[in-house]
């Protein structure tokens, strides 16, 4: 039952399940704008998928939550408009009616499956509870239904999984449980709030396929919130684009993706990183290696089965305990001066651990790593200090990586001061760096909270550059940013790299991002390198199965490939 033709349902002729009319949601007085959602009108037809797209702060999640009245009242409240579910206004329904509707007629799938499930209850019981509340079925009937639903969402061995606790499942399995939970009462509408954002790309692809399939099978309408146009291309029938609480574009998926009307939509679509690898101007294979890694290993945890006598006396305790995990397993890597290498892998592949070993935040267990001839494995923090000006790092989360109580200028200048530059000169350099990364030099006097995510990441880059490093390690520097900002930051990194002749090690889970900035790609899986080579070669002809799966999982790849000819122009040179 794979339905690919539902996409064509026309916007005009639908039978609406949910109609939102002029919905406004008010923000508290101290917020930066008055309304989180400003007079939005939307319709979701029976059995169709409406994708609501927008960046963070666009009000898309607030809009979705207000349908089920899950707003944190009284801070956020519905200020006006109607939410009609089959003609019944939910904005004015009383609490008892809302309880019936939640789960029964409209259900919701949240972004983070780990925090949406109760860790102290088996997943089977959590679904059983919904049936217990909403139906009068017997225990056996309910159990049959739970197992049938688990089969529906393709959980392996449903009879066993019913008795499992959330922490015993993988992220993808947990999200399947969440979907099973939302499906079990056969609601008319499922609201999914970025349900795949926290998942790896291969899992994301599976979950999206599953959602689409189930929707066809059960005829459920789907309101899907996302920031990713790739996902939109994959599943949407119709698309609504939101910005600052307002609807800026609304139409069928085909129209919006291929002929976007509003400049904001166009900008969002253009910002989706291209699947086409950049052409690298100079093959950098002649330069000498600046970073040489040999047989590097890092193991986390001890065998946790406990002492032998305990395992013998209580074998159940030790059952299923995972022993040590080899996060980095005999990795060899050569990075030549001036090259840009992407380290690609899913969560748990050991890519971040490798990076942290190379910058001295973690101590590798064995092997060797030379930075321009200096061994770094086994160095204490104090011994690391003279090497700090060689390697620097740009961190993932721009909201956590800047000290909220230090002025931007001091944050950037600090590294140079530690290297022995006098404070006034360091501050002067910090201002120049701010200018270089595209911020006003006056930013030096301000605090990090006054800046947006993209601006903060620019500050993070300036901080890393302040000590004039040879190697820059960027650990998922854009994964916490909005799509439209991602591209700017990537272009900035690329630009700076050329300007300063930096060597870059770029950690990412997104092959498209890797293709945008790096000439070489190294694919990691379970701590081992499974494939390496030129980006263009890997994209054209992936050798390893895993690389192929990764490439095939990029959401919306067919839609992106369509525009190939006009995207061939290389960027940022």
């Amino acid at each position: 039952m794979t339905g690919s033709s539902t996409r064509t349902s026309a916007a005009g002729s639908l039978d609406p399940v949910l109609e939102i009319r002029d919905l406004s949601v008010a923000l508290p007085a101290w917020a930066d704008r008055r309304l989180a959602v400003n007079a939005v009108s939307l319709t979701v037809g029976r059995g169709e998928t409406l994708c609501v797209v927008g960046e963070s702060g666009s009000g898309k999640s607030v809009m979705a939550r207000s349908i089920l009245r899950l707003l944190p009242e009284p801070h956020l409240r519905i200020a006006g408009g109607q939410i009609l579910l089959d003609g019944e206004d939910l904005a004015r329904a009383d609490d008892r009616r809302m309880r019936q509707i939640r789960g029964g007629e409209i259900s919701m799938v949240f972004q983070e499956p780990m925090v949406s499930l109760n860790p102290l209850m088996t997943v089977g019981r959590q679904i059983d509870e919904i049936l217990e509340v909403h139906t009068g079925w017997s225990k056996a009937e309910r159990r049959r239904r739970v197992i049938a639903t688990f089969e529906d969402v393709r959980l392996p061995e449903p009879e066993l999984i019913v008795g499992a606790y959330p922490h015993e499942l993988s992220g993808g399995q947990r999200q399947r449980v969440m979907i099973a939970m939302s499906l079990v009462l056969e609601p008319k509408l499922i609201i999914a709030d970025e349900p795949t954002t926290a998942l790896d790309v291969t899992t994301e692809a599976q979950v999206l396929t599953l959602l689409k399939e189930l929707q066809v099978k059960h005829g459920t309408a789907l309101l899907f919130i996302t920031h990713n146009f790739g996902v939109v291309a994959e599943i949407a029938d119709r698309v609504a684009v939101m910005r600052s609480g307002e609807l800026v574009e609304y139409g069928s998926a085909k129209d919006v993706l291929e002929h976007p009307q509003h400049p904001y939509t166009r900008a969002l679509i253009d910002a989706v990183p291209s699947l086409v690898p950049r052409k690298h101007p100079e093959p950098s294979s002649t330069a000498e290696p600046i970073l040489t890694v040999r047989a590097l290993e890092k193991t986390y945890g001890r065998p946790s089965a406990g002492p032998k006598w305990l395992a013998r006396m209580m074998p159940r305790l030790a059952r299923g305990r995972r022993s040590a995990v080899k996060a980095v397993n005999k990795v060899d890597l050569d990075i030549r001066r001036g090259s840009a290498v992407a380290l690609v892998g899913e969560s748990g592949s050991g890519k971040s651990t490798l990076a942290r070993c190379l910058i001295g935040l973690e101590q590798a267990d064995s092997g060797s790593a030379l930075i321009a001839g200096d061994e770094i494995v086994g160095r204490s923090r104090a011994d690391w200090r003279p090497l700090r000006s060689r390697v620097q790092m740009v961190f993932q989360d721009p909201f956590a990586s800047l000290n909220p109580r230090t002025k931007v200028g001091d944050i950037i200048a600090r590294g140079a001061i530690l290297q022995g530059v006098n404070p006034a000169a360091a501050m002067e350099q910090a201002r120049r760096l701010l200018d270089l990364v595209g911020l006003d030099a006056k930013a030096a006097e301000r605090f990090p909270h006054e800046f947006s995510g993209g601006q903060r990441q620019r500050i993070g880059i300036a901080r890393a550059l302040a000590v004039k490093p040879d190697i820059l390690i960027a650990d998922e520097p854009v994964s916490a940013l909005d799509v439209s900002v991602q591209k700017q930051v990537l272009d900035l990194l690329d630009d700076l790299r050329r300007q300063f002749g930096l060597t870059m090690l770029f950690i990412t889970h997104d092959l498209r991002v890797a293709a945008h900035v790096c000439e070489d790609i190294v694919v990691l899986k379970n701590g081992t390198i499974v494939e390496r080579g030129l980006t263009a070669d890997i994209f054209a002809n992936p050798q390893h199965d895993y690389t192929r799966t990764l490439l095939a999982s990029v959401p919306g790849r067919d839609w992106q490939r369509r525009g190939l000819p006009d995207q061939m122009a290389p960027t940022g040179e």
Binding site: M393, F395, L402, N403, G460
Partner: protein, 276 residues
């Protein structure tokens, strides 16, 4: 402190009430010799003069002015409570910071010491300390500080542990910053808000402890204090209610005000935790 903090803090009516009373107490304490020129220990009139009868709050069994006692007592009580709290915050904060930052064996050792102090009933421990050290203003301060630092150490430790793994600390490490600089310039400033809240509430506890010690006659000798006034007046409760009631109400209102301000600080510093 941003302006939104001040709006949330001063816009809270409970905080305003607390601050007004505390301001009155502090002004009274500072201006004690001006507004109550009579020596609180001097016999200034007949004993048991009722309030508003020549003396604002009457006189006690020896003819000492209750008003003078109240105002001069505010000095002693506040001074001892604040110094003891500062000492407890400094000591507990340092211990908690070291414990949370270094973890492992250091943490284990320091936390076992903390637990040792936490297991002894605090008021009995304070009595014991004052008795051993012989009653004086210093020993009261030492006793209060000794029994009140463990919660501070625990809070700072937890805060430092969570901050230690933040990316900006890792960034400081990769820049080659030294441990102590990281601890004092990067971590502690970010751990200040829970410290301020707990510290302010600790002042209230310290006032209560000081009053209780004085009540038992273990307070600082030669210093008038609220607890001492209650202790001295308690045998005349039926004939001269004001001897106990007036300092008692002063303690009640002051402790209440500090708690209101402390909770207001908490609400203003952590707006997301506030219950509507």
């Amino acid at each position: 402190m941003t302006s939104s903090f001040w709006i949330r803090f001063l816009g809270n009516p409970r905080v305003l009430l607390g601050l007004i009373w505390l301001a009155l107490v502090v002004i009274g304490a500072l201006a004690a010799p001006l507004i109550a020129p009579l020596d609180p220990f001097a016999i200034s009139g007949k004993p048991f003069v009722r309030p508003m009868d020549g003396f604002l709050f009457g006189t006690d069994s020896l003819g000492r002015s209750v008003w003078s006692g109240l105002v001069h007592g505010a000095r002693t009580t506040l001074l001892i409570a604040i110094i003891a709290t500062l000492a407890a915050v400094a000591f507990g904060g340092l211990l908690g910071a070291l414990s949370g930052f270094y973890g492992g064996r250091t943490d284990n050792l320091l936390m076992r010491i903390t637990e040792f102090f936490q297991t002894i009933p605090s008021f009995i421990f304070a009595i014991l300390l004052v008795a051993v050290l012989s009653p004086s203003a210093t020993s009261v301060v030492v006793a209060i500080a000794t029994v009140s630092w463990p919660p501070i150490a625990r809070i700072v430790r937890a805060e430092v542990m969570s901050l230690r793994s933040r990316e900006f600390i890792q960034a400081a490490v990769t820049l080659g910053e030294r441990d102590f600089v990281i601890l004092f310039r990067q971590i502690l400033p970010n751990a200040l808000s829970p410290l301020i809240v707990t510290g302010s509430l600790l002042v209230a506890t310290a006032i209560l402890t000081e009053s209780a010690l004085s009540f038992l006659g273990l307070g600082a000798p030669n210093f008038m204090s609220w607890g001492f006034m209650i202790g001295a007046g308690r045998s005349f409760l039926r004939d001269a209610w004001w001897l106990v009631a007036i300092p008692g109400i002063a303690i009640l209102l002051t402790v209440l005000s500090i708690n209101l301000v402390g909770e207001g600080l908490n609400d203003a510093l952590n707006p997301r935790l506030r219950t509507p």
